[in-house]
């Protein structure tokens, strides 16, 4: 963080706005000074005078002079973000929390389940895994979206499929003409995947209902609680575990997460609400 007041923002200019789907855009930002983060950590992105919201960068953690943030239009602040134009100034706070412990993935097969805009943090993780692919056994990405139109990062999949040890699968809930991949929820893809589960970890990121059913399915397949990494979405605000908005059982998601193993949090009542 470039400032010692954690509530003070680092200014960043919008360099490019990329339409990913009708509701999702990626903003390429240029921070006024290089900005470091680890994959899976999140930032608070501020619209001057209007509000801020938490997002996990979708770009590579190895690139510090630019950052990409993918935002789905879901409410007041995100709708304002979607109206941003090139050259406008945003504020960044962070990075906050604990991201993916990639060093624990060394020597393992990594199964990634992602849904909707949940592919944004996963894209950052994929960039990080690509950098250390020699230390990994295999990376399998399963991605689900509602329709082919809402499928984001369309060029990412063909690029990943060309990388040694990487394979990707896509599915949609609802068929549209021209779609030649799977139809069904993301967990249906699991039946097609061969894994040595004992030497695997699973990473899940998406809407709570998708994460809930994915976790259940992974447990059924034989994954153990601590082999499943979940990126929890809560109302993170201050970023340092003080404001109370992201409290989840004994944890503050902003400080102790957002990445948890299922084993860490499975005892929390109403986990997916």
């Amino acid at each position: 963080m470039a400032t010692d007041n954690i509530y003070k923002v680092l200014k960043a200019a919008v360099e490019e706005v990329i339409d990913e789907s009708p509701l999702i855009k990626t903003f390429v930002l240029t921070p006024e000074v290089p900005f470091k983060f680890s994959t899976g950590e999140f930032i608070e992105l501020t619209l001057d005078g209007l509000g801020e919201a938490p997002f996990t960068p979708s770009s590579s953690p190895y690139i510090t002079d630019k950052m990409e943030v993918t935002i789905m239009k879901t409410g007041y602040v995100t709708e304002k973000f979607h109206k941003l134009k090139r050259g406008e100034i945003l504020g960044i706070r962070g990075p906050f929390g604990r991201g993916y412990p990639v060093e624990k993935f060394f020597g393992k097969e990594i199964l990634i389940l992602s849904g909707g805009c949940g592919l944004a943090p996963i894209r950052s993780l994929l960039f990080a895994l690509e950098r250390i692919k020699d230390k990994l056994k295999k990376v399998t990405l399963c991605y689900g979206s509602k329709t082919p139109t809402e499928c984001i990062y369309k060029s990412l999949f063909s690029r990943l499929n060309k990388i040694e040890k990487f394979e990707t699968y896509r599915t949609v809930d609802k068929y549209e003409p021209g779609w030649d991949e799977s139809v069904g929820v993301v967990t249906t893809l699991l039946d097609r995947i061969q894994l040595n589960i004992e030497n695997s970890v699973a990473v899940v990121c998406g809407p709570p209902i998708m994460m809930n059913f994915s976790t259940v399915r992974l447990l059924e397949k034989g994954f153990k609680d601590d082999q499943i990494y979940l990126s929890m979405e809560k109302n993170m605000s201050c970023g340092v575990g003080k404001c109370g908005h992201c409290m989840m059982g004994e944890f503050f998601v902003c400080k102790d997460g957002p990445v948890f193993t299922y084993g860490q949090i499975k005892h929390i009542p109403d986990l997916w609400k």
């Binding site: 003070k8 200014k11 005078g49 709570p208 201050c238 003080k242 404001c243």
Partner: protein, 290 residues
């Protein structure tokens, strides 16, 4: 007990008037609207200060965590502050806030500066309110460690015990006035006896209340029957959290120029944890309480 100093009531008032009001902002409890609450002491109101009565409506936390605070523009406080009449229960609450805002991983600078510039003088509670139950949670109705100076009042004298390093300047001012003196063991015993009486009264009054251990167990059971009782008539007004000595949740309100107002927020308000996707872990009131 640490060193106990004594000062005649008349001299204490004179000191407040002459020595202190000029160099400090002094807050102390006075009678207000049927209860007692803090007011800023001026040269005419020092005589209205209530000692040894529980307890001011405004929690001590609001001196350090104001309802609204600009966290980008640093506050420039010129005068030091003295708070007279803080009850022991509020000081215990402040200790918990210190753990949140002044720990080894995070120091909130504004909170730190306010704590540094404030001298807390607690008063023993000789009178208690209907719902006072400090002893149930292992807290005494008088303060020792955690405050800077503790104060007990009798008809003729004010007794002061110093507990922190910060009290030095204040005590030196009193000593230099020539009106403060050490007390006898008999006088200490009078204060101790009054404290014992208050504890006994509170223990008897709250005999049936669960202590900290049992309360902690109940909190761990979110659907415990007792938690269903309170949401039944809760209207999410947030008053309980506002007067709670430790409730400290907040929300940011963004202002132009990337300024942020930190404003006290309360988990009893319906959208407290709601995310834009619509999920809300605290949708049921019962979850807000536990």
């Amino acid at each position: 007990m640490n060193n106990l100093y004594k000062i005649n009531r008349g001299e204490w008032f004179r000191l407040l008037q002459v020595l202190l009001v000029s160099s400090y902002n002094i807050f102390a409890p006075v009678r207000k609207n049927g209860g007692i609450d803090y007011t800023i002491v001026n040269t005419e109101s020092y005589d209205d200060i209530r000692y040894n009565e529980a307890k001011p409506v405004t929690p001590l936390k609001l001196f350090f965590l104001p309802v609204k605070l600009n966290v980008i523009k640093t506050e420039k406080t010129s005068k030091k502050t003295i708070i007279i009449g803080a009850p022991s229960c509020d000081v215990e609450g402040l200790k918990l806030l210190d753990l949140i805002y002044l720990n080894e991983k995070f120091v909130d600078k504004t909170y730190f500066l306010k704590r540094e510039k404030t001298l807390i003088i607690t008063t023993d509670c000789y009178m208690v309110q209907e719902h006072c139950h400090c002893t149930t949670y292992g807290i005494n109705p008088y303060s020792e460690k955690g405050c800077d100076i503790s104060l007990s009042s009798t008809l003729n004298n004010i007794y002061l015990t110093s507990w922190s390093k910060k009290k030095d300047v204040f005590i030196k001012k009193l000593i230099s006035s020539g009106q403060i003196e050490a007390t006898s063991s008999n006088e200490s015993e009078v204060i101790s006896e009054q404290r014992r009486r208050t504890i006994k009264y509170l223990d008897e009054k709250n005999e049936k209340l669960p202590g900290t251990v049992k309360t902690g167990e109940k909190i761990k059971e979110p659907y415990y029957e007792i938690w269903k009782k309170y949401p039944s008539n809760c209207v999410s007004c947030g008053a309980c959290s506002a007067i709670c000595p430790v409730c400290t949740c907040f929300i940011f309100i963004d202002k132009p120029g990337f300024e942020k107002m930190k404003q006290l927020d309360i988990c009893q308000y319906p959208p407290f944890e709601r995310i834009t996707g619509g999920e809300d872990p605290l949708k049921e009131l019962i979850m807000e309480l536990v």
